[in-house]
Symmetry: C2
Subunit: 334 residues, 2 copies
């Protein structure tokens, strides 16, 4: 590959003039500029950006840790990030962590090893966060979607508690009194928040929480399917199920139908996220809509603010949610 010295030689100028032609064209005479441009074209010269980044200490890369790129909601968030990053000349290095801490660490290290300028985490992860602080303070990181309660990092999130409360209240208003819940991954703060919202709503309605109606799940279709099987054997059988995401809800809905129940006549099902499939399943899913792409855009913007030193105190950006009532929820059966 031709380098800047080859170009300089061919154009009979110094390397500085070549560099200036590319960086500050106005600081070089028109005829030198032309000679340089010709030489560049003739040699097919492309600056080695690795060298530029090394020299400048800025990589223009952002690492994004995603628990599962196959999660449709995350996929939308990533799209938003990619857009916002591209607008500012940054590239996204995507890490599909699958919850694996080794992978998380491997990619998180890209920041401390100067391969990336900053980090966005789509999942609250305490151990990782701890190891990311050093004597100079915290690494440039933003925590999005699923966030930690007390973190020094900027955060962009949803009021999951309020959203879960709204959905549970929706079910209560439809007359449901036995509302099961299929939770998200154990350790996740997001799960706890949504669970808290569910409890809040029941308490506000003067009802107590039946702990036996809380079922474990992990955001996958199959975990929703499995949890639903357990729900079917409850007695009395719940008349509604609130799932912590849409995949789980669709898995559960399928299990109910396989077992001969009608949704929502026999049992109502509600989800969370409003993925594209939610409005195309049968029946269309009542769910909470989140501005996924906007989440991504905001997270990137926030991180760039951090990198530019434009932020003094870590902000918490709360994105709006909307309850989308579709056909999967209906009045409680008599």
């Amino acid at each position: 590959m031709a380098n800047i010295r080859d170009v300089a030689q061919r154009a009979s100028v110094s390397v500085a003039t070549v560099s200036r032609t590319l960086q500050h064209p106005d600081r070089v005479a028109a005829k030198s500029r032309e000679k340089v441009m010709n030489a560049i074209a003739e040699l097919g010269y492309k600056p080695n950006l690795m060298a530029v980044k090394f020299r400048s200490g800025k990589t223009q890369n952002l690492v994004v840790l995603v628990p599962a790129v196959s999660n449709v909601f995350f996929a939308r968030v990533i799209s938003g990030m990619q857009e916002a990053a591209a607008e500012h000349g940054y590239a996204i290095l995507l890490a599909n962590t699958t919850g694996n801490e080794d992978i998380e660490q491997q990619y998180a290290k890209m920041v401390s090893t100067s391969q990336a300028d900053g980090l966005i985490q789509l999942r609250a992860n305490n151990p990782l966060d701890k190891s990311l602080s050093n004597e100079f303070g915290l690494l440039p990181m933003v925590n999005a979607c699923e966030v930690m309660q007390d973190t020094a990092f900027p955060v962009v999130t949803l009021d999951n508690r309020a959203a879960a409360n709204a959905m549970t209240t929706h079910l209560l208003e439809l007359g449901h009194r036995h509302i099961a819940m299929i939770k998200g991954p154990q350790s996740s703060p997001l799960t706890l928040e949504r669970l808290a919202g569910y409890r809040d709503a029941l308490h506000q309605a003067g009802l107590s929480v039946d702990e036996s109606l809380l079922f474990p799940g992990d955001f996958t279709l199959s975990s929703g399917f499995d949890a639903a099987q357990h729900i079917l054997s409850c007695s009395p059988r719940p008349t509604a199920v609130f799932c912590e995401n849409d995949e789980t809800a669709m898995g559960a809905m399928h299990a109910f139908k396989v077992n001969g129940l009608r949704v929502p006549d026999d049992i109502s099902v509600a989800g969370f996220d409003d993925i594209a499939f939610a409005q195309y399943c049968d029946p269309p899913l009542t769910t909470i809509s989140q501005p996924a792409e906007e989440f991504g855009r905001t997270a990137v913007t926030l991180l760039l603010d951090v990198l530019a030193g434009r932020i003094r105190k870590a902000p918490r950006v709360i994105m709006p949610f909307e309850l989308i009532a579709r056909a999967s929820t209906g009045p409680a059966p008599q």
Copy 2:
């Protein structure tokens, strides 16, 4: 940030010894090694990998161009890539191109500007391919999933024509004679291949192709929904629809149900890809299963072979497919 010279000074050795301690520990005396390791720990030294990569000319990065990360099939392919790449110490730089050629070019340039070692394209794209050849030959690139017919690049693909033939034959065997098809994006070779397979099957059965039964689509749920509306107004109405991917099929199925048709009693629907949702929708979708993760793994392996110069002639790896018959297809109504 502490650099290698700081460590050398602190350990009272030369930079070479520090470097050797990290690269070839066996070539340095045990007691020096210990001094160095202590100094590294005390200073919290982390090698600047940007410098390493610049020096070595190897970035250990692979760029992957994906039309849409939100496509569930692609998400699985990406997972496979990430795994295989990580095993070999490579990172994936993911580009969500959304079919935008500027974005494709931007990311593809990362190879020629030494920011990445190689490129994987999940979509056949002739214009891009053309610009990727230079006087030294072709860029290190692998074309996966959707591939060009006559390309000099290694390719990992499916026999889409045979798979579409198999699915169409399946529908023919169920007695269907009016089989509509919802196609993929216009320009895509994959669309043409699957269409060819559909034609083959009809011809083999001694039937002619009714061009009015071919409907445009773009792999999204909504395009399937829209196409289905048109299918409903055909007369006679087709008794089966073969969709070029599962999202399209699910969108179409939803449209049929909204319009009071029963699947498969009134109309059969078949998809392609076997995404997770396919077995959890109602009715579960008959589709073609592709080893998505294996696609990703293979593409990465192939690219690493290219980079290592282990490949003489561009191979075409054909992955196996399987027809998964579920409940969305049934005998043709009388």
